[in-house]
Symmetry: D3
Subunit: 296 residues, 6 copies
């Protein structure tokens, strides 16, 4: 029986029971959605994914691995100043920096996609050869959006300013302006499997990704997963849903493959709880996180 | 900065900024759902699809085309007399007639499927050789429904009375009475890809459609899309959802193929906003409309 | 016109209009969800599936058969004592027993999955060679759950105690503890098509099932369908949704194939109405039931 | 224990178990919402109120009476031709006529408010001195609405054409056009307690109604309750919610008082299930119906 | 800035930061809803009230007091065996017992109302003169419900068996069978302010309670608050909503008054999260709890 | 009949059809919610209130006035840079400034409450004697919130920095920290009618306001209405709902009374569409706006 005088801290992600000192991976939340242009709510992402994780198993049959067999510390949510984008990004940057300094792998739960920018800044300082693998429905390559440079719609453009040409690999993209697609073709690896499927192949898949991952060798890799890369039928609870996306099983197998590379950091962003009307997406996002943690 | 003394008319569908005079295509709404037998709400369809279209891009990577490069006038919603089916159909008929007289292509946003009938009547008067391509989960071939001839459940039967045998081509159908299927086999082209998939092919597709479209030659074609042709996992927000349907990417590629024919009119019907609990369907319907407008 | 002095009993499942005496199949509901650990609501399953069935057709194009051509009696819902698990299971056991004694095939609508246990007990007494075909997202093979042996999470383990080794065939499973998977490999036929798809086949399917069914010969078979075997994109309304599941068309074709065997009882469980936010799942569950009844 | 070979007809309203022959009151549903201009869904009203009534008690502490002590037959829902307003009204008229001819009191469950018109027509033929007591948030006194005379927005005007001046008494009204209010002052008794409360009395009540009821004497009275007379905080699930309304306890006490008059017919209309997101309104509407049946 | 290596335990109720040893009050959750007959979901009550409490202030202007000024330990949720009512009640009994033995005041978060029974059993053993003040919409005085004695619908009857005649004081009740009301008049103090308001006072209130509380003297008192005592307009998220209830300000002022007596234990039950569609009820329940803790 | 070649601009608030030049009042939207700490979504406020206003009447029986009789121009929504709080406030400031320079009365639709700050800055420059009447559930008097000075939780403190002591009059407040209440007593007029109702008066009201308004004389007054001043039973759709609030009829009568003063600007903020599950709040907010416009 539960001891009454112990407070059970049920708000860790399932199976993430390591201490900070022992941990190989540090999970933390960055619940910011201040630049979301369409449907806000990503701020609740990490919090809800943790709370609902008790409905999951800590064992993955896909990988035949257990979360309790690896060492993950769940640090909870960062405290972020609502309404101040620059100070928010700085707070995230410092957290990343510290985790990397302590030689642990940071895994961040968004929040909106702009939170990836300070993570990349911190990682690329430690790993100058950093590559960025990017799963997303959107290009996120605008130079500015409604006059702002610091916007979720510009995050890959900002990351490119940090990393330089040919360091970003985007998969699953199927929405953007003409200018974004044209710019992307010149400066990053922008997969067109989902944006321009041939008329003979109605249902595209991620196979292009295997070759890309193989080409990365031992280079350090950051993996950012905008959960809207999934088809909205499987994941409606996101800020800007785009039909014609990836299925869950494709995504987790791709994550498994990518994690064969030298992963030095990762994030999972854009789960928007207010639009999770059936509650399925919290469970699905939790499973993606479990597979990500077990694959690293 | 926005000029304060200008009212911004944000209720046009994104990128449909042409004048009526210049337009090649005229978009208008027919928000009627008076004969809906199960779950009403299609009346809000056009209005919501417009309002939510600002979350979309006007550029289609699928087609590499821009809505702002073509000429579409969005006329808004027709004013329809609630509760009077005959007068409603007459109002739609007159609108179609005028647009066709002005040598423009009408594209109608339902509303329930019965609104297609007056559109077909107007089109077939101008184009006596008219063919009708029909995407739907249902046969819609009843002779009457609960004693009524003017019902959404009878609309293809009524269109057949206008067009005659072998002029209607139905795809995606997977629900109807035995009598409807038997009647349909004799009088229209009724694809069985979804209604009777072979046991070896669990997941059917639209390939039969390519041959059909090729056979149409230069004949004038009207395209009616009942959005319930999509699988309810991708599109729950419709009056009578039927599992086992078409996926979004199949549908838009099929639309693209059909629009290689001589399209003289089109519609998109049966989006029912009250059942769009996650809001995804408004975005998906808007994308189908974008692809339709760009494909014509 | 309806005769005013007749009460129309609209709470039968569509097309199930036979008398008890004439019926070959007896449908009844067991609205129990007392051991549900995550999201309750399965208790409303049978009631809602019936009420929403008027939106379906009684004709199946998949099978080219009519419900009104077969003889099904719909007995409605059993009266069950809320909060008393043992008495509830006994009530279900007695109902099964009586139907089997009258040489009819029982088809039960859950409720949570534990209701399958008394059904198996009754069936195996009449048919000592009974086999159990099991569609589910979960192993359900725990020996106990939170100290309880009578739990939905243990139902297949309890059924194994009744039936013995190598009599249970589980398909679609993709979630469980490591111990459950290991135990399952030794004592039942546990398909890994969904739990461990190969990295080259992103999208698994049920094909393994064909061989299994062929091997059953004339042995009596009970078919239990936990509706969470479907992918949550197609069926979110269930207690513990698990991404990466089966599609509707796969399921109904598999049901059709399984029903080629000697079916002596069946059930459909775990539809949880409170999470059916768009109402699609009631229609989908009703279609699964229609196909099941027509396939037997 | 339930006898398996009996189908339990759970779709009667709780406690309404009389035969037609014995019944003093006949309850029936008129699930029509064809002229609803804003939010459709009233069609499901009667059906849902019945289905959810099992959560209520058949005993009213307010009245210290039991539904099982009085004789009510629940005839279920009329079959109405969707999309044909005139035929629908005729069907309702005939039903009313028959019940009145059999010397029983008809109580109708809407549906939208237009269903009251044929009920009044039938009643006034039997009772030429008929008075109409009307609880509603809206005047419903337009002469036509969007060109239509047969509209829910015109129903009191149409009833006035049947009944003549000074026969209609409206309570709870707080929305309408200026013309409707002006017309109403001349031709009916239009209470202004809710439309124009004095600035000193923030929270109006129904007290004016007592005097009115006392003045009716033995004249035959029909009572029509548009459930939107309730405040939307207590009853959001209606087509056109209007803040500033009546509270539940006020309404049922007023019903009790009105039923001291010579009631010859009654109805309860405009419960719109799709907007009953918390499910509370089905229970509340059921309670209003229970009090109405017990008060007559 | 947050220290990354500290896990923030955000799942305590706001301001309840005391140790067990120092605490005067011990808060714990009993998330059981196994006998709920209508709409389950009370199991999530305590968990959600805690999680959403961060949106509240710890300061009450009503009382001019701060939660951080008093000593409350939040022990989290008990682990309960789903589906086993008796073992669940025993677990709660033991927890109560221990807290009382340690001379602290237990405050329990339900769960359904049956959880009050073991709390009363434990309290009455320590305090043989125990009185029970009961806020509820329902009598809860059935001797059995569907054959069960251990049911939420019988909890006050069971408590009476523990406490004896004239020890229970029920307020806010407005629903029950005729037998329950008659039995209640003989054996407990059953306020009729809400069940039988006089026709002249449309809107009843709790004033009767003041006299009752004054009569209790120094006797030990347990306070049980079934949150459905509130009007469903203010609190829809409960298993069996009953219109015509109490307003929030009445309730918290009554709590304040009752807590002037010698409170030795308390609970707050029947918040059902799945029906809290707007999320308001979690905040309201949290405020009731804050006022309760500050008033004791 | 509608002329097809005219685009109907249905996105104005009902009855606001004046030109900018002729208008006495200019309505505009400031859809900013960047500092919202709890539940975002106020950004959609103005847009949805306009879209749903077609369900309202333009005539107010409360005031016996018509919107079409007064001159209001609806300028639509300002374009605001998501994620940049300072630039957003500047944009609002400039809009206010221009409207005031053109000698019109600005009425702003939020958005979160911080948008009131630039409005006050612009108004107080034109009217140095400006008073601020403030309806709200919250004090909004923090000096900073999570380190930020520009936060919705600090807006009244910031306005006080502009206006000085004893110029702000807050009504309906019932939530805040102890420090806020103490600070408020010294520097503003902070009504305690709702925060500390006497135990004898369960249901407080706004009567204190009459005296305050009378004391204002001819001084210029800005009226800011945080819609969460209403009770959450009447208005759940707001960021931080607080039970124990004001009723709709109280609010509109108070607005009417306040508008007897010399109103030079006003706003209505904090309607959060994503939490308007039944859609009632859009209608209620629209009615509050109608009464506000007609009262000025």
């Amino acid at each position: 029986m539960k001891e009454l005088n112990k407070q059970i801290t049920s708000d860790r992600f399932i199976g993430c029971d390591s201490d900070y000192q022992d941990a190989d991976i540090v999970l933390f939340g960055a619940g910011f959605d201040g630049t979301t242009s369409y449907r806000p709510g990503a701020r609740f992402g990490g919090k809800v994914i943790r709370a609902e994780s008790y409905g999951l198993e800590s064992y993955s049959p896909y990988l035949n691995k257990e979360l309790t067999d690896i060492k993950v510390f769940d640090s909870g949510e960062l405290e972020l100043p609502f309404g101040n984008t620059e100070k928010t990004l700085l707070t995230i940057y410092k957290a990343q920096k510290q985790i990397l300094n302590d030689n642990k792998i940071p895994v961040m739960l968004g929040g909106e996609h702009l939170v990836t920018l300070p993570a990349i800044e911190a990682c690329s300082q430690k790993y100058p050869d950093l590559r960025l693998i990017h799963f997303d429905a959107h290009t996120d390559l605008r130079d500015e959006y409604l006059g702002e440079k610091l916007s979720h719609a510009c995050v890959m453009r900002r990351c490119w300013e940090v990393l330089g040409d040919n360091r970003i690999y985007s998969f699953g993209v199927r929405s953007g302006t003409r200018e974004e697609f044209e710019w992307g073709e010149k400066h990053i690896h922008l997969s067109k499997e989902y944006a321009m499927p041939t008329i003979s192949s109605f249902l595209p898949n991620f196979t292009e990704g295997f070759d890309v991952v193989n080409s990365l060798g031992d280079n350090p890799v950051y993996l950012t997963i905008d959960i809207d890369v999934l088809d909205p039928s499987e994941f409606p609870a996101t800020g800007t849903p785009e039909a014609g996306g990836v299925r869950f099983l494709e995504l987790i197998q791709m994550i498994r493959y990518v994690c064969g590379a030298n992963i030095v950091g990762a994030d999972l962003v854009e789960y928007s709880h207010p639009y999770d009307t059936s509650g399925v997406c919290a469970a699905t996002a939790g499973k993606v996180l479990r597979e990500l943690l077990l694959s690293i």
